[in-house]
Symmetry: C2
Subunit: 199 residues, 2 copies
Amino acid sequence: MSKRIITVSRQFGSGGRTIAKAVAERLGVAYYDKELIQKVAEKTGFSSEYIEENGEYAPSRSIFALASSYIGAPRVMGGMSAYDYLWVVQRNTIIEIADTEPCVIVGRCADYILRDRDDVLNVFVHAPTEARAERIVRLYGENEKKPEDRLKDKDSKRAINYKHFTGRTWGDANNYDVCINSDKLGIDKCVDLIVSIAE
Amino acid sequence: MSKRIITVSRQFGSGGRTIAKAVAERLGVAYYDKELIQKVAEKTGFSSEYIEENGEYAPSRSIFALASSYIGAPRVMGGMSAYDYLWVVQRNTIIEIADTEPCVIVGRCADYILRDRDDVLNVFVHAPTEARAERIVRLYGENEKKPEDRLKDKDSKRAINYKHFTGRTWGDANNYDVCINSDKLGIDKCVDLIVSIAE
């Protein structure tokens, strides 16, 4: 099986991003995560921070405030909310990238957006809460919120965003070709596995 | 990672049973599917057909009829319904098997029953409806029901049974270490993949 495009959806703290980056390196293909945000920023004029915060999470109040205060956007948004406008630009950018070059794309409903192509491999990376809590504290440090609450908050926003735009349930095995528990398998084994399937 | 026990949950028509059998052969370990039913039949006195029909599906009316008409069972069932009694015996049998020898166990909530062991690899095999419909007609022939309805019927009964006894959602990636789309990957690749993880 040869797949040009690999989408990687991941629970917060599961190491999915690390796995995705390593897969792209091993396969020698482009990697889109922050790189995707950058492209969307150029097209919309929104800041990278705004896109990062709202491009794959349930809407925060801030994006609605933005929609009414932003001067450039309303003209091109054609009556859409900033949230929906961001979705449209992000969606078109993902389709454009997939048409251009073999790559690994992290998050942002790319599995759903590219569902009609048959050269795509959709991966979901997850891990038990304890393992992910330990990982985010190790990588990003502590903050005022309990790590378990930080996980819950991020993942529930991702799930709501996914449901809103795709009608599907985030983390339902049916949506992906491979789902892996990165804690049980280990990061390296996950990379090997995805590369072996994609090649 | 070395795992003694592999549990394989599977959507009807996904080829999960074929994959599980091949994995057991490749690893040279015992395989429990009909073999598990046989053990439970010996312990309960229920027929294999009854166990097959009710051991991993939402209860049909027949099992309640059985509970009131069966002469031997009520004495040992201690006030339980035949459905719950079957669960208890099946559960104990799975625990016993896992304690005895390395093996592959198909279905019957074994992933949940053995959740406290750390030598278990839990696999879920799925495939799109069209691929599974084509497979069941090819393997089991046509009958008066549309193949899509046969899939829906079996899988929804498995999902209800799983929810009832485990409180979990069948097919939620979080419950398994690896979920694979057997249509996208192909049966042989699925076998290779599970063997490579288990070894």
